[in-house]
């Protein structure tokens, strides 16, 4: 595998690791942004340009900013009094390590049966557009409904209640 792939993967994994380890929440959010950028570069390396740029625009341009706003609105940027980890972090770590062990074993075990490298697929925006309104039109419409409901719901949930204070 090429050097660039290992470099980008190292940056992504480092970003993800710092996002769950650091004490200051805003630092975690910024490390998460680095992880998203690394993932977008991995998508670009896999010839999925549309998915890569959509990832940058949606995740870095919207989700990361949402997370940062939420941290600031909940006073998360002040240092917490107790530890930032829950009471029994070892259990969580063991579970995560177990999951990684199982997944890694499954991948390496079936490495010989996985498909090999093909020629570069073409996923132009035109083909994606045809697929979206052709074969995948039902998921598209459901997604539109879901996004509308989620937007209205998020606004209502986070709205200031004037009475009943």
């Amino acid at each position: 595998m090429s050097v660039i792939f290992w470099l980008i993967s190292a940056i992504t994994i480092a970003g993800a690791l710092f996002a769950v380890i650091l004490k200051n929440t805003v630092h975690c959010a910024l490390a998460l942004t680095v992880a998203f950028a690394g993932l977008a570069l991995l998508f670009l390396g896999l010839d999925a340009q549309f998915a890569g740029f959509t990832e940058i625009m949606v995740y870095i341009g919207a989700v990361a900013i949402l997370v940062v706003f939420a941290i600031l609105l909940t006073r998360g940027s002040e240092t917490p009094k107790d530890s930032v980890y829950s009471r029994f972090p070892v259990a969580g770590l063991v579970a995560a390590a177990g999951v990684f062990a199982v997944l890694g074993w499954a991948v390496l075990q079936s490495a010989s049966t996985l498909p090999h490298a093909m020629q570069t697929p073409s996923a132009t925006a035109k083909e994606i557009g045809y697929a979206l309104v052709g074969r995948y039109v039902l998921p598209l419409e459901i997604l539109a409904l879901l996004l509308t409901v989620a937007t209205i719901g998020a606004v209502i949930v986070a709205l200031h209640e004037k009475e009943g204070k």
Partner: protein, 391 residues
């Protein structure tokens, strides 16, 4: 002869590449393009700072810088020396790492946007199939840099300025996307080179630029409003208004880092004007069919400088909008009108060639604008003033 002049930069690059061995050629070709962009646009930035100061000064009935060179034209050199030799003050309670990175992230994200602009015939750095999507992705990345700058300074005013700037940029980014979407609908492609080639057609003398269509004019006006708000220029410059918030999110930056923020803001102005002229004003195509002998890159840069002139003109003329007025305007008027414009564009496409579609679409655009203005931008009627005297 004029074709050679038009392609002169391509010919120069091919000549340089001819001297190199085969394996190095793609790498050096990209490096040459990048060096050209990094050299030209900051140079234009230096020129624009003088023009802005002199332009605003003349609008305000004063002279502007006129000491350093003939008509003050060498002022950027003095500014550059000043910003390089100023002491770099970093507040002790600030988050050093993020404070250092914020201007870098901003400038990198803004420079990336230049990679997909077609600056002349065959003169794109990267000819991508999803070029417009790439440009908007890079624009979205620059918002986080603004937040990083404001938060890492540990200063209430910086944070407030950063929050206002991010809220404004997110709101107007949707409008930018939707007004560009109308152009994509008609052209049928996200690639900027194809969009320019679709506008490079002449019927008689007149070009088929999208601004000369009713939906194109409406889209261009919305795009211009959103572009002014995205780059935090007047009348949308509350986040960095000098009289309101000291200097907003770049209060705690001095010396070269402040110069980098300044550079980032002006480069964002250039790249968004470049995109606007690519989408609506025909990119590198000439305004009349008898003028196509003039090199294409001259047309692109002329349209760019014309847009910059309009930005400077607006800054000197219009008063600043308040934050709630700005957000109201974006969400209640411009966004619904942009969606309505998309529907009018679809109608244009499906009415077929002829004079009917011109009449129908013009009437629909004007009617939509008037109705939406009456409904959503109603002035609040205050009652008669009441005074309370201190007793």
């Amino acid at each position: 002869m004029f074709e050679n002049l038009d392609q002169i930069f391509i010919l120069l690059r091919d000549m340089v590449l001819g001297y190199l061995p085969e394996p190095l050629r793609p790498f050096v070709s990209v490096v040459l393009g990048v060096v050209a962009i990094v050299a030209i646009f900051p140079g234009l930035f230096a020129l624009t700072t003088v023009f802005e100061r002199k332009g605003i000064a003349r609008i305000q009935n004063r002279l502007g810088p006129n000491r350093v060179g003939p008509f003050g034209l060498l002022q950027p050199i003095a500014d550059g020396i000043k910003s390089l030799t100023k002491e770099d003050i970093v507040p002790t309670t600030s988050n050093g790492f993020i404070h250092f990175l914020a201007p870098l992230v901003l400038v990198v994200a803004v420079f990336m946007g230049f990679a997909v602009l077609p600056m002349g015939r065959n003169m794109v750095l990267v000819d991508m199939d999803c070029a417009l999507l790439f440009y908007f992705a890079m624009g979205a990345s620059s918002e986080l840099a603004v937040f990083m700058a404001g938060w890492s300074s540990r200063n209430k005013y910086s944070l407030l300025g950063a929050m206002r700037a991010v809220a404004q940029m997110i709101s107007y980014e949707v409008i930018l996307l939707l007004s560009g979407l109308a152009v994509v609908m008609i052209t049928g492609s996200l690639s900027l080179t194809k969009i320019v080639e679709a506008q490079n057609v002449y019927s008689g003398w007149f070009p088929h630029w999208y601004i000369f269509t009713p939906w194109g004019l409406a889209g261009f006006v919305m795009y211009a409003i959103a572009a002014t708000a995205e780059t935090n220029r007047s009348p949308f410059d509350l986040p960095e208004g000098e009289s309101e918030l000291v200097a907003g999110y770049h209060t705690e930056y001095s010396g070269f880092k402040f110069a980098l923020f300044f550079l980032g803001e002006y480069l964002a102005m250039f790249s968004i004007s470049g995109l606007g002229s690519t989408l609506f004003l025909g990119g590198w195509s000439a305004p009349f069919s008898f003028l196509t002998w003039v090199p294409s890159w001259i047309w692109f840069f002329s349209k760019l400088m014309l847009s910059i002139f309009v930005f400077i003109w607006m800054r000197g003329t219009l008063p600043r909008l308040r934050q709630d007025q700005l957000m109201n305007f974006a969400w209640k008027f411009v966004l619904p009108f942009t969606l309505y414009n998309l529907m009018v564009t679809a109608l244009w496409r499906f009415l077929g060639e002829g004079w009917e579609r011109w009449v129908v679409c013009t009437v629909l655009v004007i009617a939509g604008y008037v109705l939406l203005g009456r409904v959503s931008m109603r002035r609040e009627h205050f009652g008669p003033r009441s005074y309370r005297y201190a007793e």
